[in-house]
Symmetry: C2
Subunit: 446 residues, 2 copies
Amino acid sequence: MDMNFVIIGGDAAGMSAASRAKRLDHNLNVTVFEKSMDVSYSACGMPYNIANPDREIDDLVVRRAEVFKEKQGIDLMTGHRVGQIDRHNRWVSGIKSDGKKFKFPYDKLLIATGALPIIPEIPGADLAGVMALKSLDDGRRIKAYLKEKSARSVVIVGMGYIGMEMCEAFRERDMGVSMISMDFLPGFHETIAGMVRRELESNGVMLHVRHQASQIVKAGEILNILFADHGLNADMVLMAIGVTPNSSMAADAGLALGPKKSIAVNRHLQTSDENIFAAGDCSDAFHVVTGQKTWIPLALRANRAGWAVADNVCGKPTEISPVAGTSVFKVFDLQVARTGLSAAEATQFGFEPAEVVIESRSRAHAHPGGSSIWVYMAGDKKSGRLLGVQMVGKEGVAHRINAPAVALHNRMTVDEFSRTDLAYAPPFGPVWDPMLTAANQLLKAL
Amino acid sequence: MDMNFVIIGGDAAGMSAASRAKRLDHNLNVTVFEKSMDVSYSACGMPYNIANPDREIDDLVVRRAEVFKEKQGIDLMTGHRVGQIDRHNRWVSGIKSDGKKFKFPYDKLLIATGALPIIPEIPGADLAGVMALKSLDDGRRIKAYLKEKSARSVVIVGMGYIGMEMCEAFRERDMGVSMISMDFLPGFHETIAGMVRRELESNGVMLHVRHQASQIVKAGEILNILFADHGLNADMVLMAIGVTPNSSMAADAGLALGPKKSIAVNRHLQTSDENIFAAGDCSDAFHVVTGQKTWIPLALRANRAGWAVADNVCGKPTEISPVAGTSVFKVFDLQVARTGLSAAEATQFGFEPAEVVIESRSRAHAHPGGSSIWVYMAGDKKSGRLLGVQMVGKEGVAHRINAPAVALHNRMTVDEFSRTDLAYAPPFGPVWDPMLTAANQLLKAL
């Protein structure tokens, strides 16, 4: 009898694993249970889609369910919400969208349940018009709501990068936008964050930092968000505080958990049960700088982990490489990127960090059209190692961050990184790339 | 008596060395002999400056001679052409711009004489209007000539990256541009080069590849460039075949030479005479991939080598890191970049290369405004090592190339590079960065 490879969750990690497993071993029975009707879509593309009322949210679908079923031979069961894993008997069970129950046996199981948006437990968080953005259905609901209510204003609770991207989306639709949060761009150095703050404000966004919403009340069609002694009126509230691993089912099944209650996996993506794998935003990973477990929900590592699970299930033992947490986002005219650790984060892992922030230019001296680029860099005084880099600027930031990311994978010292041979031409930067200038400065502090 | 540190050549390497040496040891006598009147200017910025008749070429000057003299205490002697090095008596001698001779003793000497444009030995190469671009004076002459003659057309001999940049500059000035050369973008893979070729042609540039000029004749005010059975008329000819190390004085002094007759230096930038250093475009370097000597004239390594010479002269022994040959240029709407070796180059050094070219996108699926990016990648079948990367596209190429450059410094395998954690957001690329897609493809061929 052929082996049953069962996957819970038809998003990036789940569908990557399913596709690759079927490609590696066509006789394998690959069954995916997805609670929604959507699989394989660009979740990260949602803010840009929501920005444009004329675009359909379904434009974000990369591959339709039929293609997975008919062309790839994957048993893709949409509208199937798995609720329980029975490790002893090796089956999963749950409820279909029509209310009927189902039960299915597995030999190897992949949990790829992703993450869930964090909704603060305040009165009124469940009111109509208080929304979050995680799934394509969320995006669909937000677009429908904006249209139906002709919403003109929004309060975004949270100032992380999804909040930033959505802020731009709402401004594109000419809506008034307020943001409220205790922290502005948590994890970023204050100079980098300060540039983003200035960009938001010059685009008409109202920021209420060091505050948190205590209650939301409805006054007619209007939502009133209460904080401190103030209240903000808006047509809509977006909860964008962050996400949390969707790991409760794994916890209920007795699987070990890692940082932030993500599902703990080894380098082969196996959970504490060797027949059960976890991949994507629900699972933890090794950090390239600390060597320790971390939880960083990002799309590339989800896709990559899905592939690695398929390899391991299909008898091609594969270890997943550690993550650097390299990420980038766009907010209005700014590109903001980071990789590795900030000094504050590094201190928690026993490093003795030094840090610098430098301002340089996006184009060479005397080359027209340049703008400022700020580079933050942290290094370890004990080992000399590069710990992390952050950057902000109008151009040339998004891809620049990949060079220090590769450096982190190689455990380079700041000195070694400062000696790398990087590209130069006047339209793209100074002779000494801003990252090299930062490294040269940081060397003096190490 | 204080030590005499003498530098021949006041360009990138020479002035970097002078400034740093004086900063490290203020009592050191630092004397720079520069044959022209210009020091410290952005040579790479010249094409962009020439593109604009309203800009002064002197806008490219980064630091004026007076600053070096008065603020930094450097004895900067412009208009001093050194012609001879007497290693036995340790002095240099030459001729000043007023025709008088000079002679000066050194304890440590740096040769930073740069490179010279290659002028093919064909009849008419010395005619007025046949020009090359290397020094600021060249740029000055070209701008003056274009203005004085109201030049409407140019033939560029050579199709390397300076030819490309100048081609765009002339088109900016609405001039008709023809190019003629045996090779189109030597060193680049044909697919990458093909994209550049298409870009040039769609910008109205006439290309005559696989031809070479045999003679230039003057007919009234017009130059006629003869090749095969044809002739091209133009107001001006730009010789942009390439450059060659300006090493004849070093050779005359009996110093050892390296690849392409560049001055051979060890990792401390010492020539075969331990009291004489060489840095910048006149000297060779170790290649990060082959470990062997190479000659790659690029601005960053010149600046960096200048610094390292100063360190070594001032008693701070410093080894220069190897070069990867990372470079980028812009031509019309395209960015073209490379690092490391092509498969063809790698074969000459005993590698068994495999290569791929992939087409990917500059932005994510369904994100508006994206365009194609082509990535060429070469790896070694024996060791699995990454050997080199080339890229072309309208956006996101210039800084992307730095990630594989850092990978080359770390001697990463293609497999290791394919596992690096790179940034993703829909405005800046697909989830799988085009470089990762190329690496994944290349792995199949290794």
